[in-house]
Symmetry: C2
Subunit: 139 residues, 2 copies
């Protein structure tokens, strides 16, 4: 009888732990869905470098942009790539970057004046022919 | 003794089901990580409408763009928003759209010539002052 009681206790405990796991898992899934549906602020930055900018200089600038998310935590997401559009609607722009923020305040008050961002902008200027920037809130 | 055997069987079965759940959950998580790291092709489209385009006309065009993902399954992701950049580097463009594809082939051979896309482009032309398009592969 003692054995039965012990086994029953273990069984109930196992069921309890299993249920807890299910509940935690469901909560995580709900959180993921909420995050996916949250609005975010996209910051699209597109460069065309001067003809005389060397490949090494352009690479260095791109590398310096790529490391900004390591220093500026309000950058929620960062991606970049070279223009690949077959349509002739790109005004000869070549380097495309997309940064994601959670608010205009984080963009304007933390990212823009951040010393690392300001140093990057200063290093960029001599080699840049033109820049295009649009931002939008996802819907 | 029979009771103990029955309870043990139930216990082992419960543990087995619980372990299966864990394995499936882990596999789903791994798949999510792989998807996150997969390269995708971004297609950025930015409009400025003519001054004479009415608010209703612009709204209708935007609505027509927004429903394209319902008809063209190769659009993996779609988002849009109104330009919100405080920097004067947007050339007066206002409407920003980002479509995501898995390949250039799906973009060029399925999306671009798709009748729904072609009808949208035709409806757009009379009201559009200018358009800017860049595409890039995420890295």
């Amino acid at each position: 009888m003692k054995q039965v009681l012990l086994v029953c206790t273990v069984l109930i405990f196992t069921c309890f732990v299993s249920s807890c796991g299910e509940i935690i898992n469901k909560n995580n899934k709900m959180e993921a869905v909420v995050k996916k549906n949250e609005k975010v602020l996209r910051h699209i930055v597109i460069f065309k470098f001067k003809e005389e900018a060397s490949e090494a200089e352009v690479q260095k600038i791109s590398d310096n942009f790529n490391v900004l998310p390591n220093y500026i935590s309000v950058i929620q997401d960062y991606e970049w790539g070279l223009n690949d559009s077959p349509e002739d609607l790109h005004q000869d722009f070549t380097h495309c970057y997309m940064l994601t923020f959670n608010s205009e305040e984080e963009r304007d008050s933390i990212y823009t004046p951040h010393p690392k961002h300001q140093a990057f902008v200063a290093s960029l200027q001599p080699h840049l022919e033109k820049v295009f920037v649009v931002d939008y809130w996802t819907k």
